[in-house]
């Protein structure tokens, strides 16, 4: 449906009906203003707007002539070369034969000749070519070379004779342009002339002459004079030329020799020049008929192994399946590189006969060969391949059948689903059955979910339930609707056997719908302890903090010791997802009786990254059984919290370095101190908005100057502020790409709270790539002296990117540039 809409849009747009109208008056006025344009002095005109208007006008016949006339008139009156340049660029977009006289008058002016050609070269009217041709005789040196180049680019054949006469010009640029031109415009006689010239030419000119001769030869082939071309190519191939020219000769020969080409290549491959051999093998793909395939196949049998490897790859590139029998044979080569090449080639030119061979290699060859064979099984396409796969599901040894079934899962052909279902229910081989179940998931549609879930009710072996869970998860990935995901699982939970319930409960953490939560919560009270255990485990795997309260209740009040343990474990796992991780860790700590539970809490404290988290870690530093974990937790919390309270963190880190139980922890603490020292005055505690861009706009400054939603009200509740990673790039700036990814032409808003112990003046310093502006306590502020209030100060920056890296750094120091102690920053 969406495609249909796009086609309608396209049709309408191509007809011009949906295109924006040209603002002709404003455009004409802007063009006039640009008569005095100099770089950076646009007289108030937006150059990019003018360009876009001219582009619109080029497709709008109602204004096109008028705009062109205005451009020509302005070009004639232009006061600067910068203005002429800009106007020529516009005529390149919109110009017709009407503008040719004005542009032609500029061709002999060394300062602006190129821009005249820039326009003329792309205006495909005879007048443009004629004007350039006329200027050829009026110019010299580089300007003349440029005119030749443009005539050649336009394939202006009438200039061929005059250009040819210039191949010996005393100006080297002109001579090179002329030689190149003869290659594009010349004929057989030109080749003879160039060949004579080559004998006495300097080396760099020989390069140009060879290129011109080869271009002439190509033109001869295109014009039907293959015989003359073959002579030229043979001369290069057989002559005493460098390897790249012999290769060019060989390639030309192959392309121009029709049915004889294969024999030429075979001769080259059997020849004694390894460079030519390698290039000749690469050229095999140029000849595609089946008869030639036989020739290459025979050749492959008689060359050494390293040649076979390349030939097999070339056969694959040719795409002719008639080479498949040879390539299948090569999978049995004694050389691994040949076997790998053959296994890979079968992905391109494999036939149904290749399936058993690939399946066997995938099941029992070396690890590398297994990968190659599996890839080819998944990639191979062609007549009868899909059906051959279905046929092979039930034939062959166990390992091969598993590989065939696995490949079916990757080939996405849905037809074998029923066959796989049967295998999944009945096959005696555990491995085959489980692979079939997983492949059912891979090729199954959302509508097949129920069939797969029901396998869990009465599997042939209870061990199959792991594969069933995996298959269900795969199908979940194909579904948008969470309720649809949960529905068949909930049905089995209602009526299925307990074993199935135990197996499937954890799957409900994926859809995590209200109904799913209700069902899992209810299962917590099941009389079957294995079901209630599984339910609590499932709650602990929830993707959001919804079950946190229930888990806390179970952990704090259940009489079942296992339930208490499982629930507390889940509660601690979900804590980082909660709004107040610190409070949750405090709660967890009150319930934790076992060292492994306290270890789990200590391991997660950095997610809180607060003073309290640091205190919790500290409180276990004297506990001999938890000392290592506590010290490590303290380092990790410090690494996050250091940007908010340097003094407190520094004291902690000094203590860690003095008393830590091992050097690893000590070194990590030193790293945090190093980072704090390196960025001692830097504000690194930031929360940021999402990034903002304007689709289709690659103007970083324009995007930066655009007022996006947060800037209208920084206190709006609609703004989502997320932690900005305190990662620094090589130049010591905060690397925003670590948080926002490698995007260009965008901006983002970042905020922090600066706590000052007193009212005081400070100096704000910043460096940025590429743009920055800021607000302190709601008022725009610049770098330099700022006034901090006692207590909390809200500081917001807007940082823009115009391509490449995206980073900035803000520092706060005393007005005299010395270090300002006592500030605290809070995200």
């Amino acid at each position: 449906m969406k495609t249909k809409i796009l086609f309608l849009v396209l049709t309408a747009a191509l007809a011009g009906s949906t295109m924006a109208a040209v603002e002709i008056d404003k455009l004409e006025s802007s063009i006039e203003k640009l008569q005095a344009y100099e770089y950076d002095k646009t007289n108030g005109v937006d150059l990019r707007w003018v360009e876009s208007q001219i582009a619109l006008a080029s497709a709008d016949n109602s204004v096109r002539g008028k705009v062109e006339t205005k451009l020509i008139d302005s070009l004639a009156k232009a006061k600067t070369n910068d203005a002429k340049q800009f106007l020529c660029r516009q005529l390149r977009t919109i110009g017709t034969s009407q503008c040719v006289p004005q542009l032609a008058s500029m061709l002999t002016d060394k300062d602006i000749s190129h821009m005249a050609r820039y326009a003329l070269g792309r205006i495909e009217t005879p007048e443009a070519g004629n004007a350039l041709y006329k200027a050829l005789g009026q110019t010299s040196g580089k300007i003349k070379a440029g005119i030749i180049n443009t005539l050649v680019q336009m394939e202006y054949a009438a200039a061929a004779y005059d250009i040819t006469k210039l191949v010996n010009d005393c100006d080297k640029d002109v001579a090179i342009a002329a030689i190149r031109g003869t290659g594009r415009l010349g004929d057989r006689r030109t080749v003879v002339m160039l060949q004579r010239m080559r004998a006495s030419a300097a080396k760099d000119m020989q390069v140009e002459i060879d290129s011109a001769i080869l271009n002439c030869a190509r033109r001869l082939v295109e014009k039907g004079d293959g015989r003359s071309a073959v002579e030229i190519y043979r001369e290069y191939y057989n002559g005493k030329y460098p390897e790249h020219l012999r290769t060019a000769g060989l390639r030309g020969l192959v392309e121009a020799s029709g049915p004889k080409a294969a024999a030429i290549l075979v001769e080259a491959i059997k020849g004694d020049d390894p460079d030519i051999r390698r290039n000749a093998i690469a050229m095999m793909a140029l000849i595609k008929d089946e008869k030639t395939t036989d020739t290459f196949v025979e050749l492959c049998k008689v060359v050494p192994a390293d040649g076979q490897e390349l030939i097999v790859r070339s056969l694959a590139a040719r795409g002719d399946v008639s080479a498949a029998p040879l390539v299948i044979e090569m999978t049995g080569s004694t050389q691994e590189n040949v076997r790998l090449a053959a296994l890979e080639a079968l992905g391109d030119i494999g036939t149904p006969q290749a399936i058993p061979c690939l399946a066997k290699a995938a099941a029992s060859a070396t690890e590398r060969e297994k990968q190659f064979a599996r890839s080819s099984l998944a990639r191979m396409r062609g007549d009868g391949i899909d059906k051959a796969f279905i046929h092979r599901i039930n034939s062959g040894d166990s390992g091969s059948r598993i590989e065939v079934i696995r490949a079916i899962g990757l080939r996405l052909d849905c037809e074998p689903f029923a066959t796989l279902h049967e295998v999944a229910k009945t096959d005696a081989d555990d491995g085959i059955r489980r692979e079939a179940i997983i492949s059912m998931g891979r090729i199954g549609k959302p509508s097949d979910l129920e069939t797969i879930v029901k396998l869990a009710i009465a599997p042939k072996s209870s061990g199959d339930r792991g594969a069933i869970k995996q298959a269900v998860s795969i199908v979940f990935n194909k579904m948008q609707n969470k309720d649809d995901q949960a529905k068949p699982v909930l049905a089995v939970l209602k009526t299925g056997p307990d074993d199935a319930k135990i197996s499937l409960l954890s799957l409900l953490a994926t859809p995590a719908t209200a109904n799913a939560l209700k069902a899992v919560s209810a299962a917590v009270t099941s009389s079957n302890s294995k079901i209630s255990d599984a339910a609590i485990r499932a709650l602990g795997e929830w993707p959001n903090p919804a079950p946190v309260e229930q888990l806390y209740q179970i952990a704090s009040s259940s009489t079942n010791q296992i339930h208490k343990i499982l629930a507390l474990r889940g509660y601690i796992r979900l804590t980082p997802l909660t709004k107040n991780p610190t409070a949750c860790y405090v709660n967890a700590l009150k319930l934790a009786n076992r060292n492994d539970e306290i270890r789990q809490i200590l391991g997660g404290l950095h997610h809180a990254g607060t003073r309290k988290a640091l205190e919790i870690a500290e409180s276990y530093m004297n506990d001999q059984t938890l000392k290592a974990e506590a010290y490590m937790a303290a380092v990790k919390v410090s690494n996050v919290y250091c940007w908010e309270d340097r003094t407190r963190v520094r004291a902690m880190l000094d203590k860690i370095i003095a008393d830590a139980p091992n050097d690893g922890i000590r070194n990590q603490a030193r790293n945090v101190i190093r980072k704090m020292d390196e960025y001692k005055s830097v504000i690194a505690s930031w929360k940021g908005t999402k990034s903002f861009a304007i689709p289709g706009v690659a103007d970083g400054n324009r995007i930066f100057e655009t007022v996006f939603e947060p800037e209208k009200d920084f206190n709006s509740k609609d703004i989502v502020w997320q932690m900005v990673l305190p990662e620094f790039e090589g130049g010591g700036k905060l690397d925003l790409e670590k948080t926002y990814g490698g995007i260009d032409y965008c901006c983002a808003y970042l905020r922090t709270t600066i706590h000052s112990p007193i009212d005081q003046e400070a100096r704000l310093k910043w460096r940025v790539d590429d743009y920055i502006k800021s607000w302190l306590n709601g008022k725009p502020t610049k770098d330099g002296i700022i006034k901090l209030n006692k207590g909390a100060n809200t500081f917001i920056v807007k940082v823009g990117d115009s391509g490449g890296g995206w980073s900035f750094v803000c520092e706060i120091v005393k007005p005299d540039d010395s270090r300002l102690e006592g500030l605290r920053f809070e995200r």
Partner: protein, 406 residues
């Protein structure tokens, strides 16, 4: 002195003539201590020097020449090479033609701004050099076709410089080609927008900068420091903006994932503020690739049976991809190793010029549609814009004298 050096090619020829015991196709294992790939490095800004460091990490590569039109870049590059080898042998050049003219150089690295890529690479290939060229490999669509033609004519190895298409995005390739999303019909590529006019002010050209050579085939304009310090991408004369910069990585990744990397779109619809929210490419098989949008980082795919972004699925779950092999780099050592392997075997590298050109074409077409503000019909076989001669003018540009790629 130069005449006494043994280059890779002369070494091979000697081996072939001396004994029939050499392998049929010489591979890395057969190379002797003296046999190395001599490379010349052109365009020595930050990216160029970084890449050069990567190449010098290969034992069988020798950096023998560096070239830049900015003295500061050139000197840093020279010091980097000499520091690596512990000598003072590295030769410096300000004109790339002098590097290409050296017989002892096998391969050329190009890290200049985009407007130079075609001119330098074509000149080098005509002189028999293999090419590793940073992305975006082309400035115009016609340049890309011509670079491909020359590479094929002379049998040159040409690797474009997007390490991300495989290196960063292979999870997507495996997930999609491995069938985990079912049939994929939509993808979102989040890269920057098109380039435009440059209006930087005049500044005096400082000593140590050959400004005329920096501009080369681009229209003349006065010097501005920003341009020589890497900020050339937003400007049409030198680059295609974010569309071609990250686009050559990420459109490349999306196209490879969707197996569309050897073709092109049939329709390109620019955003019109009404029905078409964002630049949209439509391919023959009905696949749509959008510029911008999506939900999960730089690229998203939506299939009939699931959707993925950089963080995995919408819940942030990044499942292990199917364990399949997708033909990718040959040899060892990422995209550089792939190139060096192919220099020896004459195979096509992963980012062969044809693939690079097709990828850049997608980005260029997006730019043209943006600049003109109208939809384009594209014939991906003939590489022509259908029914819009004015739009077709943007397929190529007339280069400043004396430069050409004929």
């Amino acid at each position: 002195m130069r005449g006494k050096q043994t280059t890779r090619r002369s070494f091979l020829r000697k081996c072939a003539a001396a004994t029939v015991a050499v392998p049929f196709v010489v591979n890395a294992k057969a190379f002797g201590a003296n046999d190395r790939i001599n490379m010349g490095f052109i365009g020595m800004g930050g990216q160029g020097r970084g890449d050069m460091g990567g190449f010098m990490g290969f034992n069988d590569v020798r950096a023998v020449a560096v070239c830049d039109v900015v003295d500061n870049h050139l000197n840093q590059a020279r010091d980097q090479v000499n520091g690596r080898y512990g000598n003072k042998d590295c030769k410096t050049y300000k004109d790339f033609r002098d590097v290409i003219a050296r017989d002892d150089i096998d391969a050329i690295f190009i890290g200049t701004p985009d407007h130079w890529h075609a001119v330098i690479s074509i000149a080098a290939m005509k002189a028999g050099k293999d090419i590793y060229c940073e992305k975006p490999e082309t400035l115009t669509i016609r340049e890309g076709r011509q670079m491909t033609t020359v590479a094929r004519t002379y049998g040159r190895v040409f690797s474009g410089g997007s390490q991300r298409v495989w290196g960063d995005y292979n999870w997507f390739h495996k997930m999609v080609r491995g069938g985990r999303l079912g049939e994929v019909k939509e993808a979102w590529v989040n890269v920057g927008g098109p380039s435009g006019a440059c209006n930087f002010k005049y500044e005096p050209t400082p000593p140590g900068v050959d400004w005329d050579m920096w501009l080369g085939p681009a229209p003349w304009r006065p010097y501005n420091e920003s341009l020589t310090k890497g900020n050339f991408r937003p400007f049409r004369d030198y680059s295609g903006g974010g569309m071609t910069d990250w686009g050559c990585h990420t459109f490349g990744g999306a196209l490879f994932t969707l197996n569309l990397h050897k073709t092109g779109p049939k329709l390109v619809l620019p955003p019109d503020g009404k029905d078409v929210e964002r630049l949209t490419y439509i391919f023959d098989n009905g696949v749509k690739i959008y510029h911008g949008g999506g939900w999960g980082g730089i690229v998203n795919f939506k299939g009939t049976e699931g959707e993925i972004g950089q963080i995995g699925d919408r819940n942030g779950k990044k499942e292990s991809p199917p364990n399949i092999h997708i033909p990718n780099y040959k040899g060892h050592g990422g995209i550089f190793g792939d190139f060096l392997h192919c220099v020896r075997t004459r195979e096509k590298p992963f980012r062969d010029i044809e693939i690079a050109h097709r990828t850049a074409t997608v980005a260029h077409l997006g730019n043209i549609a943006h600049w003109l503000g109208r939809p384009l019909k594209w014939d991906a076989v003939k590489e022509e814009i259908i029914g819009d001669p004015e739009a077709s003018r943007w397929l190529d540009r007339t280069k400043r004298e004396p430069w050409s790629i004929a």
